[in-house]
Amino acid sequence: MSTLTGTDAVREGGGFALALSDSWTMTRRELSHWGRQPVQVAVGVIFPVMILLMFGYLIGGGREVGGDYIDYLVPGTLALTMAFGLESTVIAVTQDLNKGVIDRFRSMPMANGAVLVGRSAADMLQSALSLAVMIGVGYAIGWRPHTTAGEFLGAVGLLLLFRFAMLWIGIHLALVAGKPELVQAVQILVWPVGFLSNAIATPESMPDWLGTVVQWNPMSQTATAVRDLTGSVGGESGHVWASVLWPLALLAVFFPLALRRFAKLSH
């Protein structure tokens, strides 16, 4: 498979340093896009804030969650924000694939994996930014982590790990379908999948069978672990391991699949 040229370029062009430099160039490309589309970036950041405020004050207020609802909701919407990141990854990759520029990248002696690394780096940065804003808003509406700084950072780490898994699922989906139609499907489907979790409501408040599905959703594991690590309502110990293993398992599947798909663009 000579077209997965990450490896070729490394051998030919003088090594890992060049692959890194290519990846950095591609990351800078994505960051330049932000500079050109500030409104889009702002909308991306504000959207989860709106969800948080809507559920906190309009829709979900007064829910029985075994404590203060805002305290339960904020960690849940942090996980939801990471899940919704899938959508922006799918959109970005699909757009790239449908533009001629991907052909130029692929006809150049660059580490071709750099295209995906740049995508990953930019999406992770965007998600980190989103997370920071959400945590700030959460704090502003009364959410208070009651644990050590180490545990708090652990919670942030789990959220980003979950996002990283979503990222590679998104890259794979976009490479498989490669069409703008998929974007619409994903835009619709992230809602039920995102809400089939304990982000907004407790599994106990749902019919039994639904509650079971919800508890199995990897996102629920992350949300519960984040609640646990921040001392929020709804936290239960014993979920941290699951919220590490689930994303790793998803990555073990989708990371190689995505790379293989990418190499197959030349078939």
């Binding site: 070729d8 062009g13 290519d22 050109r36 130029r104 660059m110």
Partner: protein, 325 residues
Amino acid sequence: MADGIVVEGVRKRYGEKAALDGLDLRVGRGTVHGLLGPNGAGKTTAVRVLTTLLRPDSGSVEVAGYDVLKQADRVRARIGLLGQHAALDEELGGRQNLEMFGRLYHLGARRARARADELLERFGLTDTGSKQVKRYSGGMRRRLDLAASLITEPEVLFLDEPTTGLDPRSRAEVWASVRSLVGGGTTVLLTTQYLEEADQLADRISVVDRGRVIADGTADELKARTGGDRIDVVLRDAGQLGAAVALLPFAAEDVSVDVDRRQFSAPVADRMSALTQVVRALEAADIEAEDIALRRPTLDEVFLRLTGRSEETAEADVAHAKEAV
């Protein structure tokens, strides 16, 4: 000197349809080679294989002395590609695009910047360097695209229908740029649907149909094979068409008559003597001509000669094949 491009027996199938069906091609270093054919003949597929974007099912391909399949990165370091669709980042500015590509060619930050400025200047884009490419006109975009494919002064440059969809002025600009490159020793492979374009730019031309080369030679050789130039004569009175044709020393089977347009058309060997002959003969017979024009054969006529099918039926074939897939 070794050849710039050597293609032997390359095949590529998409389902039922063979996009390339045993393509052979040899392009000498420092020459411009035209790949001429209708839509769907396999020109773009050939370019995608040659530029490492697509793996052929079988056959061997060498570009700039390296195997496209086994030494893809060496090939990539030595080629430039101007595809049919602009291969640019539309969100970024022109300068940002060129700088980014320069870095990805590993020129280093400073040389990438200098090279971007140089190319913007050369293609008359300095003033619009910071404008987003999506706000560029078609001609500007094409020039920037060409600039991007020249960042490393490639040994082999691929131009896939470089002027399709451009207005005549932009087309002339692209032609001028291509000509100036050839002086520098670059090997150029150019695909086109226009015989005129191949004629203007290419040293040699391969006519492609259904994924293989069906004729090969210089523009003059091909034209000689396909009947060379043609003369079109439009008469004032369609009723005199028969008489006019009979007067002239053309083989009857070569003359095509179009009564609705009051026109006949015939291949000519020597342009000037044919013109004088026609004018004199018509004058002597008192047949009034409205228009007399000498012209190159169209691709359709070349095609008809070489394949016995017109270009339109060739395209219809392709459409059928696509439906079948």
